[in-house]
Symmetry: D2
Subunit: 384 residues, 4 copies
């Protein structure tokens, strides 16, 4: 009998962090994929990731609407509570042999609780890293609820073991997002017109001669400053006056502030060099990055995929605090002058050499093979 | 302005683990107590702890019904999800300066999420210990969500620091339950008739010449064996034929099995030597223990309060796996012969000398003083 | 393509009110049954109706744990809210062509909201009757949310039409519970030993020479008097000293009071003539009624099935206030003397002639045929 | 002791429907106001009604985030279920003597259930009317759950009585929204610049010489056509080329479609004559209407306040199907030609004479006086 592996995708960025593993699970003779799409991955306002997932041919076992409106810490917590209740039901009915929770977004702990409390073996992907924001707490709490840890870096593996997990339960597979980056590196041609294919709003741009990409999320522990923070970036980019593709933020405490900042800036300042997107399919997004002069903002893609792709990254503020980074990343403050200056430098330099810090491009296959063969348990004790 | 300290009590046993701290917070000139009673602490079936709390004179800021019926892993998870949603609201309205979550029961993570996601400093009491059951996962996840750790033993402090917490944020205060044990040790006389005062069901007992106490909870990770496990103990106690006060289990996955086991045993075997209680106020309970020949079962009171009281404990099965224990504890399997044999030994020996393994009896005062003076933060990064 | 008919059973008594319709739907060539079991029908404490349903061979499409503990008006309301959320998900995934909500228990409005808000045609069974308790409000609110009304009596049909529903959408099918009563009337022999087959607790009884049945539920609008009310009945039955089979109450506000009343009465008064059951399969229950001298309490079975069976009924208090009744029913107050006196009269008389007030025994078939052929709509406007 | 009257406002339009009653309750010597703000009234995306309420000086007893994102029938139902759970808690803690639920928005039934199930007298304001959409079902279900009915028209009173309510429990007070309309009629001068005061997005308009107002909500039972429907209106208004103030829709199934329609129309068609607002305080909004040439769309304000104000209304589609209307209303289909033609007629005519169809302007005072003096009950039986 095939092992049933239930994967819960709750947000747009989680999909690119798991996509090649989904394919490998689906193709593995001893595994059956149960894919659950939940949270903002179902919402049009956040780019309707579910559409890309369905177009990629993955069958969806259940959809769970669980996002409370408000984008503040209160609704973030309530969304998580609702997620626990709903996902508990889903797992109760699907009866998986293992559940996978991805990384460290706030609502991923709902997956962890719903599985572990029901004595279902819990696999945590991408634990052991270090950042700022509530993600830092959530990630390590996920580790303590999980039974098996598939991590992305050597450092992360060391850290999870230090957290009291059995070393044989902690395996460095690399990050599936790097698998996609590898595919894109092997075939880097930007074979589509982003505006023609994805619409979006804002100016038509003369991007063919060079462009940058911006992706800036609120930091939940600083959520009241979200609008102020994004305005620094917006001012810098306006002054830079270089063709820019800008992606709307994730649903987090503060994303209302970030979105408001963007909307009011558009109304008042009418920046002529920015075009806005909600989402792209992961491969197209990476091609866009690969061909960009730089990525500006605080997306983890800057530290992960861009390390492999060699794209210069201007990383703003505390969101990626202490996460492992290759030489492609330059850190700056929430400060328009700093952002402008460092971005200008990036425009005039070559891409960096590729780094395998977050994996060598085979994570999906490794993950599927481990899931097919490892002993699955749901009870553990700290090692010290 | 006084610091508002919100304490969430979700179950009968949590109350004795925090009671002296509640008093000390209430009496501290710089603190204001916001007491929230939730979960099974509100339910008649589980002994209505809320009545004892109100009789003790603590004002209650909010009551939260959140327990789903079913006593299985599925309802346990859903109860937790509901708790997150409800407690989020409570904290949003009470606006505390810090929230205290107690120990490691499954629903305590609801308190942790509701506070930490709303950027409210979270204080975890009684972290860093080791046991079996889902509690083991929950306790360490609470640690990773909490900002300040007030632990009960030297070992626990070492363990929390190893988990990556800043040493100055981890303070060994001892357990408030030992404060009560100290009071009882100083005034050990059993000055009430348990059956006259608390009713309960079952036989009138000739307990004045000696009695034992039994308290056995289900183990959530073995919840389908709950009935089988408790029947071993019931058979042993019936054969022992010695006056016995037996306490009903907590609300956990499997407590239905435990309760069913007890009910059907009563109907079929009509044991003549057992009287059943749902709850007692904490001081009365400790006096009952202090004057008992032994405590049988798997309650943490056997390892904590009984260490200080010197009462012999027959500890059954995996629930307290690896928790620190003094010499008063003898471990046995779910096996009626073993239980019977070790209990018989306990009946004929003296009590043990008092151990301060879990504190010296001043935890409540220490906790209040720390809460009044420590810097309260809600953001942290792992130390390694 | 078959029409998918989703039926939600939330409690023990609802099952006998729908059972023959389930069979008829299952057997109909143009219909597909989607059976959802929820609420107290899943709970051991309330007789685990789900076990009988599975033994009867009905496949279950989804199970929903939704009952909050506490049995008070607050948990009753929260249970309903949770039911709305959970059933919404269930219908979203099952995509039924019509949803059936049964009668008037408090949580049935959850089914009504979850279906009607999602634009799924809602069929209400057993509307248009009159009683006391919160049921009276819930029943008529269900009518106003429903698109098709399959009622049990001529009176009920008139009342639903007066409520502003289109006459052609209101059809008197009779009650499926009468279908079972008819089967039992045709084959009334009590071919099982109730205690041997169902266990239960309490005394062995010499019931073969005659017995009565008691079933008394709390009235939600008088829930604080639940214990007092049931004690009147208990005292009357003890004094009567006649073999008695007593069924535990439904989960409602006050059922804790009713249960407590029963438990404490058992401990203190040790009634020698009462045996307690949690549940029976519907046919066995009706056989037990058919062979009883009388039914005492406030169950709707007294007014419905017992009308057909001709069994004398002593109907206590306000729960069935104004519900249509045949000559087999005598109303009394919450008063031990009245209950005793009227019950004594019942013991010495013959059964009544059968009444078809609630149907002629073909309701299940009629319901299935209507569901297969009627136009299904989800939008309506009041007729006046 | 003052009677505690708890009013639940869940959406922007409900506030103007209750505002003068809030003032009158607050000022009444025998009443205490407990104001609960919930649902979309808390959300920035829907105009942050809570800000206007706080500016008007009403103290808020509790805020409840309960809106699930998605704006489809599924999230609408789940929002309602969540509302039941949350409001149950709120009423449990506030212990009101009566709860007021307003009109017929989908989530108002949550207020009704949370109050009636907890045996709290429920007052329904603005029942007995007739419309299309899910509101039609919800309104009459609210009536069947409520104990006291304060209605706005003679017709509505007749209808509620026909629904089986006791005539003395059904009182025609008129609509509090007409109280505001009366104030505005007595002082109709547009003493503020809408764009300067409320910002909004879109074109600067030359509105001083004449303008129209548009407000179009999705119809939940036709929610998939929401975008198509609003586009008809957008095209008509663009062709009309007359200064237009347009208000964003309420949160309902389909509001995403309506919003998308508006956003994409703005991007593609860049209409030069439309300025968009999210919200205004109720008095300002009515002044804007009073001075407008016409109101276009399907808002109930067109039938209620505009009847009193005499403003011509072009009422589009089924949302107000069969609601009582004065001579100021002209009905049209979802059809750009019809909309355009009828709107053009409105631009060239005078306002209508004032109609008191929905009240004479004293509803708030009447409501408060009734609440202070009426007998409050929580149990009822249908009259027939």
């Amino acid at each position: 009998m095939k092992r049933k592996i239930c994967v819960v995708v709750t947000a747009r960025p989680s999909y690119s962090r798991i996509k090649t593993a989904l394919t490998a699970i689906q193709n593995h003779p001893d595994l059956e994929l149960q894919l659950v799409i939940a949270g903002s991955a179902l919402l049009d306002r956040y780019g309707n990731a579910v559409d890309f997932i369905e177009k990629d041919g993955f069958p969806i076992a259940a959809k769970v609407f669980m996002v409370l409106e408000g984008e503040n810490p209160t609704t973030m917590a309530k969304t998580t509570g609702l997620g626990v209740m709903e996902l508990t039901n889903v797992f109760y009915n699907l009866k998986p042999d293992a559940v996978i929770t991805i990384a460290d977004r706030f609502e991923t702990i709902a997956t962890s609780i719903a599985a572990s409390y029901q004595n279902i073996p819990l696999v945590h992907i991408q634990g052991g890293e270090v950042t700022g924001s509530i993600d830092e707490k959530v990630r390590h709490a996920n580790t303590k609820l999980a039974d098996l840890h598939l991590v992305c870096t050597h450092d992360a593996r060391e850290r999870v073991i230090k957290l009291g997990e059995e070393p044989e339960k902690v395996i460095n597979t690399g990050c599936p997002s790097i698998d996609l980056a590898k595919m894109v590196s092997e075939n880097p041609n930007l074979n589509f017109n982003p505006i023609a294919k994805y619409g979006g709003v804002g100016m038509e741009l003369n991007w063919q001669e060079g462009y940058i990409v911006v992706m800036q999320h609120p930091v939940t522990t600083e959520y009241k400053q979200a609008k102020k923070h994004v305005l620094e970036t917006l001012h810098a980019i306006k002054v830079l006056d270089y063709p820019t593709f800008w992606f709307w933020p994730n649903v987090d405490a503060g994303s209302d502030g970030t979105s408001n900042g963007i909307r009011s800036f558009r109304e008042l300042e009418k920046p002529g060099n920015i075009h806005f997107f909600k989402n792209m399919n992961p491969i197209d997004f990476l091609k866009l990055l690969k061909n960009a002069k730089a990525l500006i903002g605080n997306s983890s893609a800057g530290l992960r995929e861009c390390a492999y792709l060699g794209v210069p990254v201007v990383n703003i503020g505390n969101r990626q605090h202490r996460r492992s980074r290759a030489q492609n990343v330059t850190d700056v403050d929430y400060n328009r002058e700093q952002i402008l200056k460092v971005t200008k430098n990036a425009l005039v330099r070559e891409h960096y050499p590729s780094s395998e810090l977050y994996g060598d491009g085979n994570a999906g296959e490794k993950i599927a093979e481990i899931l097919a063969t490892v002993e699955l348990t749901y009870s553990k004790t700290i090692t010290y």
